[in-house]
Point group: C2
Chain length 313, copies 2
């Protein structure tokens, strides 16, 4: 099943995909948080609502889309997780490294990405995103084994992890970090260090288009066999496969839950698909949305297409 | 007024400070989110509830404390914002740089900080935190002018921004970033870059003790005249003043809201107070809680004391 959240008269409603271009909007009162919290019980209710409304499917383009989980507790993004990065990494961890995007950065399908010129270069990063479910009854999302990890997946969606390399460069410090003395004596010593802070370059309003659909886990037997395409103004920029993700979904969930409790509705962005199109569309980094404007689209096979117009302000 | 959130029989209740050691717990049904959303209307109700319960003040130590805002939409932390840092910064932005801590990292007063040995060194960072309010009616928290900024402050609390420099070093990449060609031609070029990701070293479960009290804005006429003390096992580690914050509260709110909408209940951690105690307690970086254990306390004048025991697991 494919599920989304739309706004009707300012109220959240669940949308269920009828076909590639149409959705059935369920009656008011159900939220995606409700469905995720107890999908086993809610599924039958959603199916019934879908049957009831099947005669009134609405074209997707006429709906006002919200992020499918409108207010996730966390949006955790895995950095540099594509095999195409390997040759570029001189040193880095063997495990997934992550940063967080705030819920205010998220944007529904079709909603405009409104960029200020002062934010500098802003490029798209097309990514598969995992939506965390309630998991086995009574088992909070901490210290999840690799074997149990997939039972915590509610479904999959699409995120466009917009990034400003201009802000990233600006928010980098070269400084002398304070450490305890290495020789074990009382006191401190300094170490020459670079630190970057992602609050602006990843967390700015509109930097997280997401949706429109969550494909429930049963629809995606193998999340590492999906095609990811990024198109800017009808020009294919990226054509990649989730098979190129270095850290796989189960490994990421298991590793993360060792230090951070995963909760129903949390989103994990699996890392940028960045293999350039064989047609020679360049790299995502070449698509500076601040100057180019236009419409940016991400398609993942089996999930759908996320499309957003850009407005410069 | 000083307000906190406690758990009674698994339910959130508002606590109001009666004196330094006692709190009045209000009747069920009110949450901190309700109070922040419309403090103008809620204040009278809280005052009435406080009068009603004044005969039954409970010692603070007997209560089960939650984060004062249990599930803030964002916890935004300002990096390297103490004048004592100036001599250590070789290059960096002139504006506030920030990172986000997820709500799952937060911990109530007195709740144990449970550290795994594999997380390496973990040290305290005592900080003043701003709790964002609803602001002027009808004005969402975007593009706030410096003059209007203080009208978005609901109150102030205390956060201990626990940090693992071990994880920070592990989650640093030295890599060749992709940029568009500088000469304007089609295609890309590479730039030698360092990037650190804060998901683990700042966002791990328990890395955000916060509270117990929010002192409402009217109680703190000048947030830049507060003493911040950090004590580990009765030894004073830090003795600093919020006057040493480089970027002030109004500037931080105004700058942030230019790229990121601030919402009621959002938390802004203003940056570490790190002037070492004149008594010679060393630096916060010397207090490795993973090996030392014990109890870590942060006191800010006019707000209260946040105290948490450390457990190693």
């Amino acid at each position: 099943m494919k599920l989304g959240t739309v706004s009707v008269d300012g109220e959240q409603r669940i949308a269920v995909a009828a076909d590639a271009g149409h959705a059935v909007v369920l009656y008011p009162g159900l939220t995606m948080a409700d469905l995720i919290e107890d999908w086993g019980a809610a599924r039958a209710e959603v199916e019934r609502g879908f049957e009831d409304g099947a005669g009134e499917a609405v074209p997707v383009a006429f709906l006002t889309w919200l992020p499918p989980v409108p207010r996730p507790g966390k949006v955790i993004c895995v950095a540099l997780n594509n095999s195409a990065n390997a040759s570029r990494i001189m040193s880095g961890p063997a495990h997934p490294a992550t940063f967080n995007k705030p819920a205010t950065s998220l944007l529904g399908h079709n909603r405009p990405i409104r960029l200020k010129k002062e934010w500098g270069r802003v490029h798209p990063e097309p990514e598969l995103a995992v939506v965390i479910g309630a998991g086995p009854a009574g088992a909070p999302g901490a210290d999840i084994s690799r074997d149990d990890a997939m039972s915590y997946v509610f479904g999959y969606t699409i995120i466009n992890d917009l990034t400003s390399p201009t802000m990233r460069a600006e928010d980098t410090f070269h400084y002398r970090a304070i450490h305890p003395r290495q020789d074990g004596a009382e006191g401190i010593e300094y170490a020459d260090t670079w630190v970057t802070y992602s609050g602006r370059y990843k967390g700015t309003d509109g930097f997280g288009p997401i949706g429109p659909w969550i494909a429930t886990a049963d629809e995606i037997p193998d999340p590492h066999a999906l095609t990811v395409t990024c198109v800017h103004e009808r020009r294919v920029v990226t054509e990649d496969s989730t098979r190129n993700l270095t850290h796989k979904v189960a490994d990421v969930i298991s590793f993360m839950s060792g230090y951070q409790t995963l909760e129903p509705g949390d989103i994990i962005a699996m890392g940028t698909a960045l293999q350039a199109s064989p047609a020679g569309g360049g790299a995502v980094q070449n698509v500076n949305l601040t100057t180019l404007g236009g419409r940016i689209e991400v398609t993942i096979s089996g999930i759908g297409t996320l499309s957003n117009p850009v407005q410069t302000r």
